[in-house]
Every structure is written in C-alpha cells, then in structure tokens.
C-alpha cells in the first residue's frame, strides 16, 4: 500500500497506456465488425463463416497467439493490437449481425410501408433496436481486450502488465499487487458499466 501511494503516478501512467491501447484495438475492431456485421446480417453463409472463425480464434491461448505473430510482425504494440483485434472482431461481428437480424419483421415491414428507404430502415429502425445486443458484444470484447493487453506487456506493448512483469522479475510484491489489482478493477468496472448501459438500452427498446 505504501508503495502504491508513493508510486501512484507510475500506476496511473500504466493504467492510461492500458486504456489507450485497449480502446485503439476496440475502435479498429468495431469499425471492421460494423461493416462485416451488416453484411453477415443479410447473408447466412457470411454469418456462419464468422461464427466458425470466431470460435477457432477464441480458442488459441493468448500468449501463444502473441508468440506466433512475433516471426511475422515482431514485438510491440502492432503485434498486441493485431491479437486484440482478432480476439474481439468476431464477437462483435456476431452480435452486430444477430442484433440486426433480431429486429421484428412486422416493425421492418411497417417502416418500409411508411416509405422509408433501405438506409433509413437500417439507421432509424434496425440499428436502434439492435443496440442492446451490440453493447453486450462490446462488453465481452472490451473485457477480452483488457485481459489480452495484460499479457501483451510481455512483448513490450506497455500497460498494467508491465508492472506485474517488473514485480515478478524483481520479486517485488507491491508492484505485482498494484498492477494485478488495477487490471482486475479496470475489467470489472468496464464490465459493470457496459452491463448497466445494456440493461438501460434493453428497457428502452422494449418499452
């Protein structure tokens, strides 16, 4: 605890790095997933392929995945972001596609009957109705990305994992505590707040 109080600036910087790299990966992932998800919502074959690849990638151990990319892209942030995007991309594609497909047929028909164009139906009916499912995907993706970036510190991506690894190498327990507990707190905080948002959106779309 005293170590934490004396070195809180170091923890804050690591936390900042951690959030920054996780958000970058999520943003890239979301942009790609949005485009592919819209496509998968209309086409069963794309959806099935996305599910299969998602299951496959999700099974690869994080550290093994990071290691497998070293001969191709080397150490550092690029490697870490590639792994984080691969892990989160397909969860997002799946939920975006499922959310859009979930819009009731009668509602979509009614919107079309009111004279809305395809784009209007998508932006004003289907996407708003899909929001709870999309946020649910975002929540799983965010927690996954945070977890991956703890390990990614080992290949030089920065963040809270750096504190953990320094602590392990120097046998300095306070550093391990600070890094690991902050990482846990970040994951739990993100999970709880996105889950609250998910419930609020779900209530609004239902009501």
């Amino acid at each position: 605890m005293t170590w934490f109080l004396r070195n809180w600036d170091q923890v804050a910087i690591a936390l900042g790095e951690h959030i920054f790299i996780s958000l970058s990966a999520l943003a890239i992932s979301f942009l790609i997933a949005f485009v592919v998800g819209l496509w998968a919502a209309r086409r069963e074959s794309v959806f099935q392929a996305a599910l299969a690849v998602s299951g496959f990638l999700y099974t690869i151990p994080t550290l093994a995945f990071l290691a497998l990319l070293i001969p191709i892209v080397g150490l550092g942030k690029t490697n870490a972001i590639l792994v984080m995007v691969s892990f989160s991309l397909l969860i997002l594609i799946r939920n975006i596609a499922m959310g859009i497909r979930g819009a009731p047929v009668e509602v979509v028909d009614a919107a079309r009957g009111m004279g809305m164009s395809g784009a209007q139906v998508l932006w004003r009916v289907e996407i708003p109705l899909a929001m709870p499912v999309i946020v649910a995907g975002l929540r799983i993706a965010a927690v996954t990305v945070i977890s991956v970036s703890v390990v990614a510190a080992y290949i030089g991506a920065g963040g809270l994992g750096t504190l953990i690894f320094n602590g392990i190498t120097n046998d300095h327990a306070p550093k391990i505590w600070a890094g690991a507990l902050t990482a846990c707190a970040l994951a739990v905080a993100v999970d709880l707040s996105l889950s609250a948002l998910e419930h609020r959106l779900a209530r609004r779309t239902r009501g």
Partner: protein, 219 residues
C-alpha cells in the same frame, strides 16, 4: 518454413524436455479442471435450491469471470510463492465461474413437473438430484466444463511466469532470447492442445446430450 523445421529439430533434439513440459501442462490443466468441477458442480446444485445466498454467489462468479487470467496468476504468487501448487490453485480459481454458473442455471431450469413427478413416485431429495436433476442438467453443466477446460489450458501457458512449468516455458524463454524456433516449440503445441481440448470436450458434450433433448450450450 525453415523456422518450423528448426522448431521440429528442437523437439527431436530435446525429447525429454519437451515431453516433460507437455506432461506438466496436461497434468496442471487436468488437476485444476478436476478440482474446480468437484467444487463447482455440487455447489451449483446446492445453490440452485436457494434464493438468497445464490444471487450473491452467482454475482461473484460473474465478476470472477471478467478478471484477466494473468492478473489472477500474478496475485497468487506473492501469497503462495511459485511452482506447481500455486499455479494449480490460480487455474482452479479461473475454472470455477463457468462451471458454477452453468450448473446453477441448468439445475434451476430443470422442468418442475419432472421433479414433482419424481417426488410423487416417492423419491427422496438425494434421488431427485442424482436421478432427475443432474442427468437433465448434464449437457449444460458439461458446456461449462468445456469452457473452463479451454480457459485452463490457455491459462496454463501463463503459469510459466510463476514457475508452474508447461509449454509456456518455451515461449517465455524464446521471447527472452529472441529464439523464434524455440518460441514456436511452445506456441504451436499449446495452440493445438487448446483446439484439441475444445474439440474433444465438444464431442463428449454431444454424446452426453440425450436424444430428444435440445440444448443451447450456454457459454
């Protein structure tokens, strides 16, 4: 391609070392999965009949699910030190939530009519659990075990950091020395082991599902 051949050469040159790491990896994963199942399945069955404590336990499990694997392993080290036992403990903690949540949910969703019928036939509480609730809940319980198994095999790679041994040793050594072939000696078998575990447990899960019962595997 040459890298793959060099990695293969490394295994051929150090068969005992590779065998030992693979053995530790599998033993560590199995030990953690077994311990977690022995705790989480009875606990889940017990909680399913209770309203008050249950909600708290399930919420704790849900939070436990979001914790980064490496953070959990690292937190165990200052308390228990390094080696096989601390890794076993940490991996058990990681495997508990999916099994507990699936068991609890599955037992709760067992058809109340089936339980009433069993009671009407004169079955006692233990018989109802053993002959009605558990068999009906089994596919979903096992889906939780499958999720936990993949998580444990992946987590066991990280156990190398706290001296737990396993295939992760080759990866950390390979990264430290920037020896790519050695790193692949850890990474490729670890990936195959994880994919194989998922496949094998998927097969068992399908085999455990009685014909006529359709279950959505809760993950």
């Amino acid at each position: 391609m040459t890298l793959l051949l060099e990695a293969w050469q490394y295994i051929v040159d150090h068969p005992a070392r590779f065998g030992q790491a693979l053995f530790t990896h599998v033993t560590l994963s199995l030990a953690a999965l077994l311990t977690a199942s022995l705790i989480a399945i009875p606990l889940g069955v017990w909680l399913a009949d209770r309203d008050r404590g249950a909600l708290l336990a399930i919420n704790v499990a849900n939070i436990g699910r979001t914790l980064p694997s490496l953070a959990v392993l690292a937190l165990v080290m200052p308390i228990m030190g390094t080696g096989f036992v601390p890794s076993w403990f940490a991996l058990t903690l990681l495997a508990l939530p999916p099994i507990l949540i699936n068991t609890y949910t599955a037992v709760r969703e067992v058809d109340a009519d089936a339980v009433d019928a069993a009671r009407g036939m004169g079955m006692g509480p233990a018989q109802i659990i053993g002959r009605i609730k558990l068999p009906l809940a089994l596919p979903v319980v096992f889906a939780g075990v499958r999720t936990a198994a993949v998580q444990v095999v992946s987590g066991a790679v990280l156990a190398a950091y706290i001296g737990g041994g396993g295939l992760g040793d080759f990866i950390t050594a390979g990264i430290a020395m920037m020896a790519v072939p050695q790193l692949l000696v850890g990474a490729i078998p670890a990936t195959l082991l994880s994919l194989g575990t998922d496949f094998l447990f998927g097969r068992i899960q399908r085999w455990l599902t009685p014909r006529g019962i359709e279950t959505e595997a809760a993950t």
